[in-house]
């Protein structure tokens, strides 16, 4: 196949000519899965927050719906443009990532508190959340550019450091869970790009050592890299009955909620999540609400929708028209898999408590927006792959 036969030189005008495409060309199953999850989110949040704001039973539902609509619009726009253009803007994107997260830290330092968001005229954004998508794009671009040096140790290290910088900024906010998403995304990108197993193994070993240093050795030596509550959350899930009144209280209550749901759930008589025994029941612990209210059946539906997203994502990864596309898709998949597993694992007591939201389900604008950005990028990769294929084969679009 001669790559030079038809140089891909497209301008924005080409991209915006999308309506000319027969049908939208997007992956409908992916869209269906996302919309299904949004629907689940709205129903679940309504049940959980009916009495949280007196007199406004739909307070959270309305807001979540607005976030979803905004997210959907952003996703549609993104699916219409060629994601490959974003590769050129890698410095801008990386600058935005580091800048916004530094800004949050600066504000927090000035107000002497812990803050993870920036107030904008109409809403507040959480840069660490949006940063997930920015990191995926920037890192995918850097790795694509240096793909000839993939076998060099120095390149692997540099790519990793590029991710660690923003990750540390986020952890300092403090948002440990999102920082860990960054690291996982970076590892997955290197993995998909084809970094040697040796480098990957070394990196994983390095992280294992670092984690044990921070959690075990440093506190013993009197150095507290993490706040004590963070350490307790990270280690508490191993022994939930140890301290039910404090840090592990959430896990205990969440387990009771999910377990009480049984096969088909307790419906309106759910008490654990409705009477706020499980804290953060509309954000980080939304899966507990699903588990208690709709039981194993409901939980299975939600998990199946995520499985659908991940399956379609993997498919899009394999059909991407270029390495950048494949890497972006891989990073997005890493983000989804990591968040779903860590969040659900937390509610069922097999992962530590970290503030990682459940994509599309947890209440929150930034999380909703970043997930839709990610899904829009996936659609764009899909659409571009089809355009490329059809240009090559001139066959009809299926």
């Amino acid at each position: 196949m001669s790559a030079t036969a038809r140089p891909v030189t497209r301008s924005l005008e080409d991209v915006t000519r999308a309506p000319a495409l027969p049908r939208l060309g997007i992956d409908w199953l992916l869209t269906l899965g996302a919309l299904g999850l949004v629907a689940c989110s709205l129903v679940t949040i309504r049940g959980a927050t009916l009495h949280d704001v007196p007199g406004v039973p739909n307070f959270y539902v309305e807001r979540q719906a607005i976030y979803a609509v905004v997210g959907l619009i952003v996703a549609i726009v993104l699916s219409r443009i060629d994601y490959s253009r974003l590769r050129e803007m890698k410095f801008l994107i990386y600058g935005l990532l580091v800048g916004s997260n530094s800004l949050v830290l600066g504000i927090a330092g000035a107000t002497r508190g812990s803050r993870r968001w920036i107030d904008l005229p109409f809403f507040r954004v959480q840069p660490s959340e949006l940063g997930k998508a920015l990191l995926v794009l920037a890192l995918a671009a850097f790795i694509t550019d240096g793909s000839r040096h993939l076998s060099e140790r120095r390149f692997t290290a540099r790519a990793m450091l590029l991710a660690l910088g923003p990750a540390l900024l986020v952890i300092a906010q403090p948002d440990l869970g999102t920082g860990m998403v960054y690291v996982f995304v970076a590892l997955t990108l290197l993995f998909v790009a084809g970094t040697s197993w040796k480098h990957l193994t070394a990196l994983v070993a390095l992280f294992a050592v670092a984690i044990s240093l921070v959690l075990v050795v440093a506190p013993a030596a009197g150095v507290h890299a993490l706040k004590p509550y963070q350490v307790e959350r990270l280690t508490g899930f191993v022994k939930p009955s140890h301290d039910p009144a404090n840090q592990t209280y959430q896990i205990t209550q969440s387990l009771i909620a999910i377990g009480a749901g049984g096969k088909t759930g307790r419906g309106d008589s759910a008490t654990q999540t409705r009477f706020n025994f499980v804290p953060e029941n509309q954000t980080d612990f939304i899966f507990s609400v699903v588990g208690e209210t709709y039981g194993f059946a409901g939980a299975a539906v939600v998990l199946s929708l995520y499985a659908l997203l991940i399956w379609r994502g993997l498919r899009i990864l394999t059909t991407a028209k270029n390495l950048f596309g494949a890497l972006v898709a891989g990073g997005i998949l890493a983000m989804l898999i990591f968040q779903v597993f860590v969040n659900v694992g937390m509610t069922i007591g097999i992962m530590p408590i970290t503030g990682v939201p459940l994509p599309l389900m947890s209440f929150g604008g930034s999380s909703m927006l970043v997930t839709f950005i990610a899904l829009g990028l996936l659609q764009s990769i899909h659409v571009q792959a089809r355009i490329a294929t059809s240009a090559k084969t001139r066959g009809p679009l299926i």
Binding site: T4, V8, Q253, G259, F275, F277, E292, F296, L314, I350
Partner: protein, 661 residues
């Protein structure tokens, strides 16, 4: 325009395919893990978690059952309840942070008017410096871990409405309706009724409190304890659903409390009041005669079946003081040595030498053992030498030749010393005197239906040997220092001589003497005394009659019994009778015996025990006054007041002049 030719990647490279497969495999594995965990939690262990969830959000508020009322035999209310509002701490819901907890207790101290000063407070084995309120909470939480701690059992309306209006400032503190015991007659029969309180850890193991939940108010002494099963009732509860902050979300149902049953006592309110007044009068008489007086007690009993008609102990106390928590200092002041231990029920727990009231028993023993007949005459010359020791009448008075009846009339000690000498036996169990003392119930609990009896003692050779052995063992432990258990003297005839007149090592309670005289009065039936008459429901229907069977029957020949009764009657009526002047002009026949027991290093114990027959309401009365002097001087006049009340006669306080032991 940027040309990126190398980015065209039309086919999937094998390397990428492997890596994508790995990524997909990892995702699949994670999903499998999550699914299995969910299956385990929701399908396999669902029921267990469901139960936990139900528990989690249900709170039970105890609705205290009102305790049963206590009535006298005629239906007069002796003890009942009044509604009160109590302020309680729920230990598990108090703020955990030390600063917030301290702040809460400062606020509570202000609200309840308690001192915020920190004082040493013993909690279990450690002593902490805590404010009084906190001390109460920590102590009770230590003793009864899961029960609410009552901070103020009787809050004023202002206090609890302030609490309700400012509930957010008082986390873990709640106002709850409750009932408090009310004693309309204050010190009347306080020791007999007993007190109530929250059940403690030791009591939870008591069989009397089987099935009682923590925090329940139970009877802790007296009739309240004995009949707690009936008086207690069954606490109810309200089931409410709460959220994680403990805010009420809804009402789920309730179980209504069941009020306790009514306990009707055999006590007669009028007699009881008169009896306690009579004790005061007796002590007044003791003072007049230069005796210090001290504690006193009386028992009035129906000799036919052991129903206690009145039972009082002086000094007494007002149980209403227990409605509020009481400090150790105040407790000591009210109930300690300086107050002469008013909580002791001297009528059953006072073990005193009986003095001449014993002569009734000695006479029975001598007659029934054939030692003498009623006609046996002895010359009372004022003293008698038995075994190298001279035993004297009080003041050395000589009564001349007397038979049994007259010996009882004048309370001739010489006559009874001689009986003691004749009936002496070196056998371990002793002779007829010991045998009959045992039959009459001395040295044993009477089995009355309230706690705290002292069995007292009647000496025998075996008893003395046992005491000597204890003394020797004790001295050995203390390297030869005398322990004061015994003087290591072996049994001698003098012991029996002293026992025959209720001196020496004889110890008995007024109740035991009343029971013994009842046995003589009713023809030999040793009854089991009881204060409970029946348990009734709210409408007065009898649920449980209380009529314990007699303890045993004593076989006393009719002629012998009559001789003793004659002697007792002469004593209370014939010229020269020890209490004849006390009962001068008393219209009913009185069969009574004075007693004056000498006690080491203190004034004499004054006794009077008597029986008044009546076809409808016979009565036996026993009165004793510590440090009261001669029996006729203090105890007998009190007995006359009590009998006058019982037979609706004019009350006259008549002091006797007989100075006999």
């Amino acid at each position: 325009m940027i040309q990126v030719p190398e980015e065209r990647r039309p086919t999937l490279s094998p390397q990428l395919a492997v890596r994508v497969a790995v990524l997909g495999g990892v995702a699949l594995a994670l999903f499998v893990i999550v699914f299995f965990r969910l299956w385990f939690l929701q399908v396999l262990s669902g029921d267990r978690y469901l139960a936990q969830a139900r528990n989690n959000q249900e709170r039970r508020i105890v609705l205290q059952a009102p305790r049963g009322t206590i009535l006298d035999r005629n239906g007069a209310v002796l003890v009942d309840n009044r509604a009160a509002m109590s302020i309680q701490a729920v230990p598990t819901r108090l703020p955990a942070a030390p600063a917030r907890r301290a702040e809460l207790f400062r606020r509570l101290a202000r609200l309840l008017g308690a001192s915020p000063r920190r004082r040493p407070c013993r909690v279990g084995t450690s002593t902490l410096r805590l404010s009084d309120l906190r001390c109460t909470v920590e102590r009770q939480h230590y003793q009864v871990p899961f029960a609410n701690v009552t901070l103020e059992p009787d809050a004023s309306r202002a206090q609890y409405s302030y609490l309700l209006e400012h509930q957010t400032q008082f986390p873990g503190v709640a106002a709850q309706p409750s009932y408090l015991r009310r004693y309309p007659f204050h010190g009347l029969a306080a020791q007999l009724f007993g007190t109530v309180g929250q059940v403690n850890t030791a009591e939870l193991k008591d069989r009397n409190f089987a099935g009682v939940g923590q925090g329940t108010v139970v009877g802790q002494s007296g009739a309240e304890y004995s009949y707690d099963r009936y008086l207690r009732g069954v606490n109810g509860y309200e089931r409410i659903s709460v959220d994680s902050q403990g805010n009420t979300q809804g009402f789920r149902g309730e179980r209504k409390p069941v009020a306790g049953k009514t306990l009707r006592l055999s006590l007669d309110l009028g007699l009881q009041r008169e009896g306690q007044k009579a004790l005061d009068a007796a002590q007044g008489l003791a003072h007049q005669n230069g005796n210090p007086g001290g504690g006193a007690a009386f028992v009035a009993m129906d000799p036919r079946d052991g129903e206690i008609l009145g039972m009082g102990s002086s000094p007494t106390f007002d149980p209403n003081v227990f409605a509020k928590p009481i400090s150790q200092r105040r407790y000591d002041a009210l109930f300690g040595q300086s107050a002469n231990y008013p909580q002791v029920n001297r009528a059953i727990a006072g073990a005193y030498p009986t003095g001449s009231t014993m002569k009734m028993i000695t006479a029975t023993a001598a007659l029934e053992s054939g030692t003498i007949t009623p006609a046996t005459v002895q010359d009372d010359s004022g003293s008698v030498v038995i075994g190298r020791i001279r035993f004297q009448n009080a003041g050395g008075a000589a009564n001349g030749p007397v038979d049994l009846r007259n010996a009882l009339r004048v309370s001739s000690d010489v006559y009874f010393y001689q009986l003691g000498a004749w009936m002496n036996s070196a056998r371990p169990a002793g002779g007829p005197l010991q045998q009959w003392a045992r039959r009459y119930g001395l040295g044993q609990d009477t089995g009355i239906d309230i706690q705290g009896e002292q069995p007292g003692n009647f000496p025998s050779p075996a008893w003395r040997a046992r005491r000597n052995e204890q003394e020797l063992r004790c001295e050995k432990r203390h390297r030869g220092r005398p322990c004061g258990i015994s003087d290591l003297r072996s049994w001698s005839i003098g012991d029996n001589v002293n026992a025959a007149v209720g001196q020496g090592d004889v110890l008995a309670s007024p109740l035991q003497m009343a029971d013994a005289y009842s046995a003589l009065a009713n023809g030999g039936k040793l009854v089991r005394p009881h204060v409970g008459l029946q348990v009734e429901d709210g409408l007065g229907k009898v649920i449980q009659p209380i009529d314990p069977p007699a303890r045993r029957r004593l076989k006393i020949a009719a002629a012998n019994r009559q001789a003793i009764l004659d002697g007792l009657h002469l004593a209370a009526s014939a010229p020269g009778g020890t209490s004849a002047d006390v009962f001068k002009g008393f219209p009913k026949p009185v069969y009574g015996k004075t007693g004056t027991a000498q006690r080491p290093n203190q004034a004499d114990q004054s006794w009077y025990v008597c029986y008044v027959p009546d076809p409808v309401r016979p009565i036996v009365v026993a009165v004793t006054v510590e440090k009261g002097g001669f029996g006729a001087q203090a105890a007998a006049p009190a007995a006359r007041l009590i009998l006058s009340q019982w037979f609706h006669l004019k009350k006259q306080l008549v002091a006797g002049s007989s100075k006999t032991l």
